[in-house]
């Protein structure tokens, strides 16, 4: 799974690292993100960046791409996919029997199925 430059189609090398508590707290003032990431400080939060670059492209515990990588004018594609793939890899290593779950808003469920291949656990309440 690779990051993709949407203008050139070039595959880009990403690096995913766990964020320190200090780093998570600084995302509060980062205009590139919408979620209140400091509220995730009790969880493991990981960031994805381009190799040797400082800019944070996306975050996972919740999942969010930075604003300029959202929507039809996004600069880099596949950010959540890379973060989810990274999570799946961690799950294999922790012997959780390769099970990764999401609980998205109900009206978005089909997109997570199409885009990321999640299997719906139940029709009425968004769980994968």
């Amino acid at each position: 799974m690779n990051l993709i430059n949407t203008e050139t189609g070039e595959e880009l090398q990403g690096v995913i690292q766990r964020m320190s508590l200090e780093e998570i707290l600084t995302v509060k003032n980062d205009p590139n993100f919408i979620f209140n990431w400091p509220s995730e400080k009790e969880n493991e939060v990981y960031k994805i960046q381009l190799f040797n670059q400082e800019e944070i492209l996306g975050l996972i515990s919740l999942i969010e791409s930075a604003n300029k990588h959202k929507g039809k004018n996004k600069k880099i594609d596949n950010i959540p996919a890379c973060l989810i793939a990274f999570t799946c890899r961690k799950v294999f290593l922790k012997d959780y029997e390769d099970f990764v779950s999401l609980t998205p808003k109900t009206n978005l469920i089909e997109y997570y199925h199409i885009k990321f291949g999640f299997i719906e656990s139940r029709k009425s309440n968004g769980g994968f």
């Binding site: 929507g71 959540p80 390769d98 997109y111 309440n125």
Partner: protein, 179 residues
Amino acid sequence: MDNYNEIYKKLREKYSDEEIAESMLIPQQMTKEEKKESDEVLRAFRFNLLREKNIEQRIFSDLMRLRFQIEDYLKQKDFSEEKTFGKFLTEYVRIINRTKKRFSEELKIHYSRLSRVINDKEEPNIELIYRLEKHSSNLVPAILWWKLVSKKQEYLIQKNKTLRSEEAAKVESVISFRA
């Protein structure tokens, strides 16, 4: 916690549902009771998936885990006696649930040679490594197996003072350099 419904409404002013789903996960806003119920559904779902998993799927999962373990070990700087080629191969044989005898037949190598390799008494050659790659249906690539051998060799080259001295003593002439 964020009000995810509010965030979603705001995002919808700018993006389609598909665009939102492609760039982030908007969690379902749930009460404590709903969350509890949802967790139970997921637990049952997971249990069912596990129960329905066949042997082939279990082997696939375990081999993926083995591959990731090798990759992670190779990223570490230090060599470990507990993570040699032979140790990982032992785990491979356990995962695929073969006897050493049957495994040696499948690879077409002599049983005693396989035993020596598994016990780290003999290093594998490139041919064996290619066979292992093929045997795993390419799930564990040859280069990973080879890097395990290479990592051990690097360690031994650094550490083997006796052999270094013995071999150095055999050199008749040494190139000299002036500072």
